[in-house]
């Protein structure tokens, strides 16, 4: 079985990819995918620790995270669809109405 560090490194790589994607990409849907990536990076760390420490806590939290992620994806995608209908664009840089 691979040592714990490998799992953690993979988790960190996934998380960082997600962060970079959120900051850099402009398409709202891609930004969403990146957020999912961050969540799953964190999930990986949870399950790895759970397995190595012989505790169910890690696995349990992952279920919670997945439920939240599903809800967030449903609402988020619905918002993106609505925004697209209104503005014919999913570019997050176009969405700056909150500015003065």
């Amino acid at each position: 079985m691979a040592p714990l560090e490998h799992y953690l490194i993979l988790s960190a790589v996934l998380f960082t990819l997600g962060v970079v994607g959120v900051v850099v990409r402009r398409n709202a849907i891609v930004v969403f995918l990146c957020i999912e990536l961050m969540l799953n990076g964190a999930n990986l760390a949870f399950v790895a620790y759970g397995s190595f420490l012989d505790s169910l806590d890690g696995q349990l939290i992952v279920f919670f995270v997945m439920a939240v992620a599903a809800a967030e994806a449903a609402i988020g995608l619905a918002i993106v669809v609505l925004i697209y209908r209104h503005r014919e664009s999913t570019d997050v840089d176009d969405l700056n109405l909150l500015k003065l």
Binding site: V19, V22, V23, V92, D93, L95, N96, L97, L98, K99, L100
Partner: protein, 633 residues
């Protein structure tokens, strides 16, 4: 005894709940009925008081602890003694007649229901005032009658002058009330109580005769009385108060409320007895007021204004009497004055009513034919106020003049003032009578044709009051020992003045003199206004300056305007700019501006780009991570 108070209050409530829906007739009947029942209750209370031995005639009714706060214990309780019993009989009796009269006078007025509610509320307040067993209950009544007076003066509030007059009455009264309030504080500070039953018997022991504290308290109390009873220099509101409906002038501004000051001085006579100086001030102000108001009344042309100044002048008599220690005479005159002045006001109301609002006596004349009942009742009232034997005013005015002369605190000066006042009273009253009811009618012909006597409901009170104006004085017959029922009934309430042996010869002589003075006044008026038409006007032209001085009421209003109203106005405007604009508004606007500026500075952070928020969040998370790592390491 509490029923006396209960009935008018019930009248107010019934009319508030149902009056507006059931209309004017219903409201009038309820209000008048309530007053009638209150009168019966007062009479019953009076009889039960008579059943007690003379020394112990005082009934107390305790309702509840009103203000139990530390050292201040105020009870809502009422006292019926000969003084307050006399007052309740006058208030409810005359009040009942005036309510009855109002049913005719206010017929067809849009606000009639409101009017009757105010009138009943006034009666309730006035009864609270006279029945209160401590200074605070008296003060509540005192303020409440002031409120009702304000409401009723400004009853026709769509008329500017009426609204202004109401405001003026309220403000001027406030000056007096302020003095009264300070007096109450001083009394509480000295005695630790506001009960009449505590303060008055202990007054001499606590304050000491002739002490500065007694003088101060008495002067402040009298200051309150000058406001309510329209004495110089606070008399200016009463003539303007004639803007109200005439029955109101009769009830509030002649018979009852304005006498509250006299009642209060009489009630606290135990305090005044301690301060000869304050008594002197009371007598002097009374004498001054009676001369001043009497002379003004000579030159006025508005029928109600003449009567208003006459009221001020007669109140001056009452204070003169109180000031020389003749409280019985003061209250006696209060009662008879309530009869004949209410009669005169109601009579003038009847004239105004039948002339559809005309109040200028220069445009009247010869009304005797058209208004026979009003004419003879008015003449009876005039004879009574002029002090002609055997009408009511003769006895009460004579009692005052006699006391002014013979009382240890009186003197020739006071008698002269009173006698001069009596002459003027007879003169201006008969000037009014002759100009209104006699001579040629100067009204347009078509108006003369429409002239009609007032309805019966208005004439009945006139006739009743006329009878009272004749016989009302007989309860205080002087000369014969034991015939002075009124004085005998009241005197236990007041402190003994000493020197009360009557010299019959002197008294008879003085009666004849005052009778002669009154007759002379009438005769002069007759000469001026009946026999020699225009003689009065000729005298007015001969001394134009004096005439103008009187016509303009000694310019007291103008002086107030110049020296008090205008400076206060200017100071207010200055304060408005300095404090309102400069301080309060500046602070509020400044707070707003500061928040706006801070917001303007911070809002640059809000770019509206989701990404910049994400970056900021990440940077924050990273910073926390770094901090935890460094600290943990």
């Amino acid at each position: 005894m509490t029923y006396i108070l209960l009935f008018p209050l019930a009248g107010v409530l019934v009319n508030l709940l149902f009056g507006f829906r059931r209309g004017e007739r219903f409201a009038g009947r309820v209000a008048t009925g309530a007053m009638g029942l209150a009168f019966l209750a007062s009479a019953a209370a009076f009889l039960s008081l008579l059943g007690l031995p003379p020394g112990q005639r005082a009934l107390r009714a305790f309702l509840f602890e009103w203000i139990p706060v530390g050292g201040l214990q105020v009870k809502a309780s009422f006292l019926l003694d000969p003084l307050s019993s006399t007052m309740t009989l006058v208030v409810t009796g005359v009040g009942f007649l005036i309510h009855l009269y109002s049913m005719g006078y206010m017929h067809g007025d849009r606000g009639a229901v409101r009017y009757f509610i105010y009138l009943n509320l006034f009666s309730f307040s006035m009864l609270t005032l006279v029945l209160g067993d401590n200074f605070l209950v008296l003060f509540v009544g005192w303020e409440a009658v002031g409120l009702c007076s304000y409401l009723l003066i400004g009853f026709w509030h769509e008329r500017d002058s009426a609204a202004e007059a109401g405001k003026k009455a309220f403000v001027v009264n406030r000056v007096g009330d302020f003095c009264f309030l300070i007096a109450l504080f001083l009394i509480f500070g000295r005695f630790g109580s506001l009960d009449f039953g505590v303060v008055l018997p202990q007054a001499a022991a606590t304050l000491g005769a002739g002490s500065g504290a007694a003088t101060l308290i008495c002067l402040l109390l009298f200051g309150g009385a000058t406001g309510k009873s329209a004495q110089f220099p606070l008399h200016v509101w009463l003539p303007d108060a004639m803007e109200g409906p005439t029955p109101v002038s009769a009830l509030i501004h002649a018979a009852t409320m304005v006498t509250a000051g006299v009642y209060m001085v009489a009630r606290t006579s135990a305090l005044f007895a301690l301060s000869p100086f304050a008594m002197g001030v009371v007598a002097t102000v009374g004498a001054l007021t009676l001369l001043m108001a009497g002379s003004i009344a000579v030159a006025q042309n508005d029928i109600k204004r003449v009567l208003a100044y006459s009221t001020v002048s007669q109140l001056g008599y009452m204070f003169l009497a109180a000031g020389v220690g003749a409280y019985t005479a003061a209250i006696f005159h209060l009662v008879t004055h309530a009869f004949f002045k209410a009669l005169l006001f109601l009579g003038s109301g009847s004239v105004i009513h039948s002339l559809h609002g005309e109040q200028d006596i220069r445009r009247m004349g010869g009304l005797r034919a058209g208004l026979p009942v009003t004419s003879w009742t008015f003449t009876v009232g005039a004879l009574a106020i002029a002090g002609i034997f055997p009408f009511a005013g003769f006895f009460s005015k004579d009692a005052i003049l006699f006391a002014a002369m013979t009382s240890p605190r009186g003197g020739l000066v006071f008698w002269l003032a009173g006698a001069a006042g009596a002459f003027m009273t007879a003169f201006y009253m008969f000037r009014l009578v002759f100009k209104t009811f006699h001579g040629k009618c100067s009204l347009p012909i078509e108006q003369q044709a429409r002239l009609h006597e007032s309805p019966r409901v208005m004439l009945l009170p006139l006739q009743a009051l006329a009878v009272l104006s004749v016989v009302g004085g007989w309860m205080g017959l002087p000369l014969v020992r034991g015939a002075d029922l009124f004085g005998g009934f009241l005197s236990p309430v007041f402190p003994k003045m000493g020197g009360e042996h009557h010299e019959v010869v002197l008294e008879v002589a003085m009666m004849l003199v005052s009778l002669a003075i009154a007759l002379l006044g009438i005769f002069v008026a007759y000469g001026f206004y009946v026999r020699g038409q225009g003689v009065g006007a000729a005298y007015g032209r001969r001394w134009p300056r004096l005439y103008r001085l009187l016509l303009n009421k000694y310019y007291v209003d103008e002086a107030y305007d110049r020296f008090i109203v205008q400076p206060v106005k200017r100071a207010s405007i200055w304060a408005w700019h300095a404090f309102e604009d400069g301080l309060i508004d500046a602070a509020v606007n400044g707070a707003g501006a500061a928040v706006e500026a801070a917001g303007g500075a911070v809002r640059r952070l809000q770019t509206g780009y989701v990404k910049s928020y994400a970056v900021a969040m990440l940077a924050g998370a990273f910073a926390i991570l770094v901090y935890l790592t460094v600290r943990g390491g």
